[in-house]
Amino acid sequence: MSSVDFPVEKFRFGMLLSDTRYRSTSLQVITFIFFVAGVFWLVDNTVKNLALLDKDVSFSFLWMRAGYDINQRLIPYTNDSTHATAALVGILNTLLVAFVGCILATIIGVFVGILRLSKNWIIAKLMSVYIEGFRNVPLLLWIVMVFALLTEFTPQPRAFKGENPDASMIIFESIAVTNRGTYLPNPQWGAGSIWLILVFLVSLLGIIIFRRYAKNIQKNTGRNLPVLWVSLGIFFVPTILFYFILGSPVTLEYPYLKGFNFKDGVHIRNSFIALTLALAFYTSAFIGEIVRSGIMAISKGQTEAAAALGMRPNKIMSLIILPQALRVIVPPMISQYLNLTKNSSLAIAVGYMDVRGTLGGITLNQTGREMESMVLLMGFYLTVSLLISSIINYFNRSFQLVGK
């Protein structure tokens, strides 16, 4: 037996690129060099530019007096507060718009998506027009249009004045829709309202326990309890009962006209309403499409098999179709929520002070700290989006079909 010596190839420089043993490493080294050079170039330019402008990078401006007013805020703020407080007010305003917008968009979107699948021709066509209309026209245009609608076509507060006013408040004289915003009754929490809230929370807990109990019964015996009616009963009856037992601790303070404006009540500005509504309508068109395609993705055999087992149509929907469709629907829906949150930065078009308007707008202009403000602003949006995408990943992992 003679051993065969493989010819040992001498290392050549060209082998760094042509030989698969070295190629990946050398490619990465090249990438790394280019990347570091690029970053160095940017940082170097920035340092030089800052030096030219005689600026430094410092976040101390956040603790200086802001000196501007914000008309819609969730926490106490005056123009003597710091820039950091102003940023926080903006962040809360952004989150408020995003939260309300997401809920509205989901409700409208689910309706639109299901109705688009309706066998009723005219309903299905109307929903198609709704979806295509909102999807194919820029959001910014919708925001300014809704804002124009709210400010131009609603009565001025003084139209409510006099013996025969041109405008009147709606829903039992409790809500005033004006071109300066909408005034809602303000709930006054009197003594004993803490007990009312407690009762309400306990009845919520009761609903959860009852649903679990009903599900167990259904699993073990197949008997269906009237879950919806009992839940509604638990939701309303104890709270209303205790409301009267405790002697109406919560009262409503109605807005009323004083001079040329409404006093008391909760004042919701048109900028907020316009932004939220436009975002909700726009996003609901996308959600509608997601819901429709999610339901259509469930094969017809599932419906037929369930019908063959003797299930009724509403049971088929709630027990067979929806649980499967939700797996398809939820992840893209959450990413629509993310889009809505990011799109809320268009608030500037209607003058709503969100975080981009405070931190990235007035604070940036007043202090001249472009770099720092933008870094903080982007950091905020990145945090929100990373949080939301980790929710999506969690959902995907826990509801994945277990493959074989």
């Binding site: 030089k48 030219l52 309706s118 009723n120 005219i122 999807r135 194919n136 930065s345």
Partner: protein
Amino acid sequence: MSKLAYVREKEIPQSAPPITEVGIIKWLRENLFSSWLNSILTVLSLYFIFILLKDFIPWAYGAHWTTGSIRECYDVNPDVACFSVLTARWKQLLFGFYPPEEYWRPTLTFFLLILSIIPILFTRFVRFFWFSLLYPGLAIWLLWGGSIWSVAIIYFGLGLGFLSFLIMDSRLIRSASISLLAACLITVLFFMFLASFSAEMLSSLIPIYLPYVESLKFGGFTLSLIVGVTGIVASFPLGIVLALGRQSDLPLVKMICVGFIEFIRGVPLITLLFVASVLLNYFLPPGSNFDIVLRVIIMVTLFSAAYMAEVIRGGLAGLPVGQHEASAALGLTYWQSQRLIIMPQALKISIPGIVNTFIGLFKDTTLVSIISLMDPVGLASLIRADTKWNGIYWELYIAVGLMFFIFCFGMSQYSQYLERKLKTDN
């Protein structure tokens, strides 16, 4: 014998189907009034359509088209639309502040755009693809003006690099990566030393030039189309590269791509546009100051490239792993298998997503109005600020919205056509 049974000997002539089972009545019964709930819904939606149209049709039908200001509209009849604002300002909505005597240039560019995308959209005309390649340079020259030779020299330099790559790859070196490096070197050297000199020389020898128009004069739909189309064209290849980078086996490449994609997708476009307008000068060498429209285009491109990358990654993930293995088993290299096997299928799966990204990008061009560029939405506010037209809302918004709708709806219809055409399964 008594009759025990009755047997019919003649066939009964066919009678017409019941009136409820034919024609329009059947259709109405099945589609509009199949149940109580459906009937109620039908009546409700008919009523809804009625209220919408009852006000809208008289408003739009009797509209003014020729009055000089909104006052005159109100004096004649305040209850109808005042589309005179469009008659007076449609040129501004289309061209922004572009010099009026040069309006033919954006118009010509637009029609050439249609001509140049036909070879890309419809395979029948693919032999005219050279025009699509030539178009970008032509468009830049037509829109911004200046000497034609500076654009021609860029094309010459790129062509030179490409040709030298082809010659070296097939004749001289026969190693794709090294000849690519060499070709890049040749191109860079050409642009560094020869380009400006030869452009100047040619300009003085054969002067062909158009008056220069600066970027801030651009506006209206011209601006939307410039930003939108450039963004679409540039973000597509960039998105493919990013998607491949994200799938790459090289950890460093993957890390950079993931970081880039997640960063861009995590922040709103408007913050990126603000970076373009206020921060970008910090990152560039001191004293450099480049065109605002170009900065916006770069940001919009980067933004939609990240989304595009995610869409294409979805398409890549949708391919069975057998396709990768089969192409490797055939001995194809990475780039060959990407070009011939993987990408065509992955792109086909992701057509709806890609077109949605394009539509999103086109709609997002309206955000440039927030950094005070004059796109149609910005112009609408500007026109409303004019005392002559102060008080106009719907006429302008409807016109702008309709233009966007036509473009975006057209794109989504084309994508559905493409999906049907490329559908190979049964």
